[in-house]
């Protein structure tokens, strides 16, 4: 794999998967707080 392919893979996967995991974590934290309240 070329350096350009590695960079694209890191950028696209990081953006899409990283985004999804972060969003689910935020949503679960918010939901937990709502339930506690």
């Amino acid at each position: 794999m070329t350096a350009a392919a590695w960079v694209t893979m890191a950028a696209v996967c990081g953006f899409v998967w990283g985004g999804a995991i972060t969003l689910v974590a935020i949503a679960m934290r918010k939901e937990g707080r709502k339930r506690q309240a």
Partner: protein, 473 residues
């Protein structure tokens, strides 16, 4: 409810369509506009759909009429009918998944020659039978109401995601899998000047996430008031595209690992060739291949079925809002879906034609949602319906800008694509409505649907009370 919405979005578009489109549109070159349109098309539209559904508690026709006036009910009808027309052939594809899963389990696959099963099955009355089976399964779930849908996706979605992850891990650990990764992620910036790449990236996003289909709007009518619109829109978009990326890695790593010399032919094998002809051959060549093949087609079946359920729910919701009982609505839908699904079941050319016409038609659906928000007042819509009671996140002005961009993107891409198609095909070929994949067939079918929607506008726009969710369920 979020799981039900994710099940609506994650469909064959992720597993069947994404790897093929990504491969044929230049791999890494395609992924850049695909990632851009996730935030410039899918997420803003999903937030818009959630907000409209939650605010009006009506199907797309009623929601458009409530939001911007009964004169524009036809726009909601376009959105709903475009998704319903997709549902007709989507049932056929779901049926294919049933057939291939059973063939993988019984050992009928991969067969003696590549495509032997496909040749004898596709376009035959067996395809009609599996259409009936898939419709019956989806109708049975929808008949049990929104609770039935939730109960079914609680089982199917985790299994589906688990299967895709296991298959992707297996694919990247195959010898030579890095060739597939290189193919998928190597960018060619000169390819970004091709309108087709951008158009496919947009339609793939629309296909992938279900943004602009009216399906998220329909499910949002059942949302609790305290449920957040913004975070749900983001999770749906990013979660769905995460599955697509996994599926792309899974399929392309397998192709380039097992048959690197024929990879070009395999990924270019058209709408059905990659999944239904080559995937069985590829899985057969790896240790434990029958198990992985069965897992692949089970994942594909679950993905297709959960999306088919949401499309049937959309059609049912329209009839329910018109005063029909759920049971009667489903009987009507079963009959209509069978009649209109029949041509696609008996001819893959018809199915491919419908896939092209209404897949690109989703761009108009997105355009109509964008128009509705602009007409209502984009900042007013954001304050009243997005940042409403129960919101955990206050969405900023960027969303207003993004909704304006949705309209601009759809218009620019449509004009760009029309002009490129005209210059590539020539005027005579372009205006021929009988060519399966030309501009002519698309424009004529769109014109018929638009005329139908506009002709029924007065009747569609008549105010009707919203049906309470428990009554609808």
């Amino acid at each position: 409810m979020l799981l039900a919405m994710l099940s609506m979005a994650v469909g064959t578009g992720n597993i069947w369509r994404f790897p093929r489109i990504a491969a044929t549109q230049g791999g890494g070159t395609f992924l850049l506009p695909w990632a851009i349109f996730l935030v410039a098309w899918s997420v803003p539209l999903l937030i818009c759909e959630f907000a409209m559904g939650k605010a009006t508690r009506k199907n797309p026709i009623g929601a458009f009429a409530d939001m911007i006036g009964p004169r524009f009910a036809w726009m909601g009808a376009w959105v709903a009918l475009c998704s319903t027309l997709i549902m007709f052939y989507y049932g056929v594809v779901t049926g294919w998944c049933v057939r291939y899963f059973t063939a993988a389990v019984t050992g009928e696959l991969p067969g003696a020659a590549p495509g032997a099963l496909w040749e004898s099955y596709s376009g035959s009355w067996w395809a009609v039978l599996t259409l009936v089976v898939s419709l019956a399964a989806a109708l049975w779930v929808v008949a049990r109401g929104v609770r039935g849908i939730e109960q079914s996706v609680i089982v199917m979605m985790p299994v589906l995601i688990g299967l895709v992850i296991v298959l992707a891990i297996r694919a990247v650990t195959l010898p030579g899998a890095e060739r597939g990764l290189a193919f998928l992620f190597t960018p060619d910036l000169s390819g970004l000047g091709n309108s087709r790449v951008w158009l496919e990236a947009l339609t793939q996003n629309a296909w992938d996430t279900g943004a602009g289909w009216g399906l998220a709007l329909t499910y949002a009518t059942y949302m609790r008031a305290r449920e957040d619109t913004t975070i749900n829109g983001f999770i749906l978009g990013f979660g769905n595209n995460s599955v697509s990326l996994l599926a792309g890695i899974m399929v392309l790593c397998t192709v380039f690992s097992i048959r690197p010399e024929a990879a070009g032919e395999i990924v270019g094998a058209g709408n059905t060739g990659l999944t239904f002809i080559w995937v069985p051959q590829l899985f057969a060549a790896i240790p434990g291949g029958r198990l992985f093949m069965a897992m692949f087609f089970l994942a594909l079946f679950f993905a297709a079925l959960t999306s088919l359920i949401s499309m049937i729910e959309l059609a049912a919701r329209i009839l329910i809002d018109r005063g029909m009982s759920r049971g009667r609505a489903l009987v009507v839908i079963a009959g209509v879906a069978l009649v209109f699904g029949l041509p696609s079941a008996l001819s893959t050319t018809v199915l491919d034609n419908q896939d092209t016409v209404w897949g690109i038609g989703l761009m108009l659906s997105g355009l109509f949602f964008g128009f509705a928000v602009l007409k209502y007042g984009v900042d007013r819509f954001r304050h009243e319906h997005v940042n409403s009671e129960g919101s955990d996140f206050t969405i900023g002005r960027w969303w207003s800008v993004a909704m304006g961009l949705v309209v601009l993107e759809a218009l620019v891409l449509l004009v760009w694509w029309f002009s490129q198609s005209l210059s590539a095909e020539g005027l005579a070929a372009s205006v021929n409505p009988f060519r399966s994949f030309g501009l002519g067939t698309i424009v004529v079918q769109w014109a018929i649907l638009l005329a139908l929607c506009l002709g029924m506008n007065r009747w569609l726009g008549r105010p009707r009370p919203a049906v309470a969710p428990e009554e609808a369920a």
